[in-house]
Symmetry: C2
Subunit: 269 residues, 2 copies
Amino acid sequence: MRALKSPTMECPSSYDPFAMTKAIAEKPRLSEAEFIAGFHAIGEERYHHKHPFHSLMHEGKLTRGQLQAWALNRYYYQKHIPLKDAAILARSNDPDFRVAWRKRIVDHDGDGKKPGGIEKWLKLVEATGLAREQAIVGDGILPGTRYAVQAYVLLVSRKTHLEAVASSLTELFSRSLISLRMDRMRQHYPWLAPGLDYFTGRLTQAPEDAEFALKYCVQHARTREQQDLAHAALRAKCDILWAQLDALYFAYVQPGWPPPGAFRPEERA
Amino acid sequence: MRALKSPTMECPSSYDPFAMTKAIAEKPRLSEAEFIAGFHAIGEERYHHKHPFHSLMHEGKLTRGQLQAWALNRYYYQKHIPLKDAAILARSNDPDFRVAWRKRIVDHDGDGKKPGGIEKWLKLVEATGLAREQAIVGDGILPGTRYAVQAYVLLVSRKTHLEAVASSLTELFSRSLISLRMDRMRQHYPWLAPGLDYFTGRLTQAPEDAEFALKYCVQHARTREQQDLAHAALRAKCDILWAQLDALYFAYVQPGWPPPGAFRPEERA
């Protein structure tokens, strides 16, 4: 058989929270610039800006029902973000780290006065024409969405703290995707406009968060093995985002059969 | 909006191992016959015998590369079965239960003389033309496969013991699927014949295991709430099997793009 040239081959290949971390052959430590460039190369290859579901979204080719399915399933991801961040918080003995990371929980849960990201996402759900209760109850969420999100919570709970922080670094890439998305949504789906506040917030939050996390990774990945694990964690997180869009594409775009029990848009019913 | 008629609506709707079990409104306890019939109704609706990937397999329409992808990904599931069963074993204080359940681990890991199910599945991988090492290392496994399998291990580790046992009841339905599969594999893919020992073993193992587990559920689901939770656990397990075939279908059948880093069959390269 042809030898597989998989980009994961030099790193922990099956990123499995139940498995022991494998020993990696001795390799020279990367310079700070190489280490950071490694994260960007992973994003270029694996971040979900290249997923065909996003291409259809940005070309205005998604139906309202498909956007409903996207908003509904992505809400399940959004509502787990503070749980994911609390798990990371719960593993740090450093008060300065905890203060910095706590900001993320406030961003998503709100401060009791201004709405947080979860509430804003419910506004997006409503803008698609679905009731917020449907998202909150979670009926019809795709199993593939649930499993990917649970894999994210499991990753930050079971892998090293460095890997947990590194897995957040998709935020390095989110600003330009969000800018493009907001632009194209206003153009192609103007009826979504009342629901775009979430993205406005993320335009500034995500780069701040990414800057802190990247600095943390640079400081704490002291060996080449740790550097490789940090890269692998970002790769694993990209897989988690990608798999959620795979599940949506397969269920709602082409060939388009939602699994038993999943949300069915009206126009397909 | 139209009210959704989801078959999950009367049961814990988002089967989430991180969530608290929800209170369920008082309903009359089901008779033993109704309770058992409920499991069979769930299998009829949700077991993966109806998945289009299996239809293609049984009609002889899968390529060798697609069967390789199936064997490779399903190996990841197979190798976690003893971990799943050990997690269930680890939660029981009843020696009789442990003796009975231990059989499953022996069936999959072998007894040091006769090969177990995992070794037999490696023979199937080899019959497809892939090296066993590729399955063992796990390069190119689809993220969707990993997440679904991890969700299964999480379910049996975090939900009640009754739900963990009930989730195994897909074995009530596996015998007829395996019989059909063996028949159609010999007909359409005769080159797979040296790899079919796994299925021969399961023809007798699965019904024995299912009988024990069903009896356990009948004895231990004493309230309607417990009966509903047991049904929901089987539904959740069906979702886990179904999602694995979704991931395969989406990556390798139509439209067919494996995510970055996943196995690529030769004929598509």
